[in-house]
């Protein structure tokens, strides 16, 4: 039973990755997007680290952590685009008929999105290191940091698959992308949380992405803090988004 379930998930995952890596027009922009943000923020805003109270050890590393979480989350959203496209073109219905348990479809896309991350992480990490980023965290710290990226990826995938399965059309793309984009930018992107002022300060303090971003930066600096809160918030988000995705699956099943 379980073997059949994972075989279905793996087939969906393989198909997703095959489609992705054989279409440069789809794959390359999604890879360039985080690199562009890394270059624009780490390069253009480095003078911000001279502001009083900005006490992080390296501005490129500081921005890298944002780009890591952002790229991971957007990889989940892009997988949601693929789900919507498959259902729009009728492939989704065929996949639903072919699987014993339909949640294997979402799990399959989840595997694919997670495997896709390996390429994205490798490229952005290599570029950041070439740009002179220094890493203070130990191996375990870095595993913890990348794991936070993986959790952001899963949460974003579940959110966007919930949208994709309800609308079953690529026209719902902005509904998947914009909330994730806005949530990411309501975290401390440019400066540490203690330097935020105005309305964004309370918004960032209740944003679960803030906990992930702060924890990732502390792990990168080799001075872990707020780890339990970050993992707790991320797992909590995954549970909520899991129910959202299951609801979407039921909606797609009802629609036939």
């Amino acid at each position: 039973m379980m073997a059949g379930y994972f075989a279905s998930a793996w087939a969906v995952s393989w198909r997703y990755l095959h489609n992705l890596y054989t279409k440069p027009a789809v794959f390359i922009p999604s890879l360039l997007f985080p690199l562009f943000f890394l270059a624009a923020f780490a390069g253009g805003l480095s003078a911000v680290s001279d502001a009083p109270g900005f006490n992080y050890y390296d501005f490129t590393a500081f921005q890298f952590c944002f780009v890591l979480i952002q790229a991971s989350a957007l990889a989940g959203v892009f997988a949601g685009f693929s789900i919507a496209s498959d259902f729009e073109l009728g492939m989704g219905r065929r996949m639903m008929l072919a699987t014993t348990h339909r949640s294997a479809i979402v799990v399959g896309y989840g595997f694919g999105a997670a495997l896709r991350l390996i390429v994205t992480w490798t490229v952005i990490t290599a570029v950041a290191l070439l740009a002179g980023m220094s890493v203070k965290g130990s191996g375990i710290d870095l595993v913890g940091m990348y794991s936070l990226g993986l959790l952001a990826n899963i949460a974003a995938l579940l959110f966007s698959s919930g949208i994709a399965l309800r609308f079953r059309s690529l026209q719902a793309g902005p509904l998947m992308q914009m909330p994730v984009f806005i949530t990411l930018f309501l975290a401390p992107v440019y400066v540490p949380q203690n330097l935020l002022t105005g309305w964004i300060e309370p918004a960032a303090s209740v944003n679960p992405v803030t906990a992930s971003m702060n924890a990732a930066r502390s792990l990168m600096a080799g001075d872990p803090s707020g780890i339990l809160l970050a993992y707790g918030a991320a797992f909590g988000l995954i549970v909520v988004m899991g129910f959202w995705a299951i609801g979407g699956l039921r909606s797609a099943e009802t629609a036939g």
Partner: protein, 266 residues
């Protein structure tokens, strides 16, 4: 005279422009889903940047003590860049659904078609300029140039809208595809981000980034609008901004007109 029946006299041109402009404006008003994001998204980024980067005003040499006063110029340019998409999308839609082909069979002049498309953008640009100025002032931005400065701002925004709108028209005419016009968005975003949008050029520490910001014409557009907010009347910044905007508008309209003639002959 052969062909005389197909060419309208000069006095018909204003009527044609007015008709196309009315259509362009009506279409914009009937598609809130197309224009609302282009109005709201720049305000959202302004709010995020103003909150997130406010501590940048403590950097020695920063030209103002209010980051929103510094950052609001970026909002106007971002909106103008969105207008590239709106103009191109509208014309590409006309080409895709066959309206353009039917229009070619009428005595409509190409200049009337283009002017009409751009008129809607100029109107949207004026609405955005007024809205962003009002929101900025309400949020604590200073507008040093005063009431006369508003008219200069409105004029500059109009020229910039025409310039970027022309780029959208070129893409639409050459490709005839709304998807291709949308594909221009990332390129426009790169132009926007690799500029002096977040920090003054003299405070950008990375040499390669400062070089890109210096050769990027968008920096001069932002700095001209920014000068109206921060210093009031800075002749050099305004001359550079208007110069870049006029060159962009003239070139984009010239190439759009050439492309349009080519498509009409097809």
């Amino acid at each position: 005279m052969p062909g005389a029946a197909t060419l309208p006299s000069r006095s018909v041109l204003p009527i044609q422009v007015a008709a196309m402009a009315a259509r362009s404006v009506t279409r914009l008003l009937r598609q809130p889903a197309a224009i609302v994001p282009s109005v709201i998204f720049p305000l959202f980024l302004l709010a995020v940047n103003a909150g997130g980067l406010n501590s940048a005003v403590d950097i020695p040499g920063f030209p103002t003590d209010s980051y929103i006063t510094f950052a609001i110029a970026f909002t106007f340019i971002q909106a103008a860049i969105f207008s590239t998409m709106n103009a191109g999308q509208g014309l590409a839609q006309d080409i895709e659904n066959g309206f353009f082909s039917r229009l070619v069979l009428t005595p409509m002049r190409p200049s009337a078609l283009m002017a009409g498309q751009l008129a809607g953008l100029v109107l949207l640009g004026q609405f955005q300029a007024l809205l962003y100025l009002a929101v900025g002032l309400a949020a604590g931005a200073h507008f040093a140039a005063g009431i006369a400065g508003y008219f200069v701002l409105a004029l500059l925004v109009s020229i910039i809208s025409i310039g970027f709108g022309g780029l959208g028209l070129i893409m639409a005419i050459r490709t005839g595809s709304g998807e291709a016009v949308q594909g221009m968005f990332p390129i426009m975003f790169v132009l926007l981000f690799f500029s002096s949008m977040a920090l003054p050029r003299n405070l950008i520490e990375q040499d390669w980034y400062r070089f890109l910001a210096t050769i990027n014409p968008v920096s001069y557009l932002i700095e001209a609008i920014r000068s109206l907010f921060i210093t009031g009347w800075n002749g050099e910044a305004l001359a550079l901004g208007f110069g870049v905007a006029i060159v962009l508008a003239v070139l984009s309209i010239f190439f759009a007109a050439r492309s349009l003639k080519g498509r009409m002959l097809k």
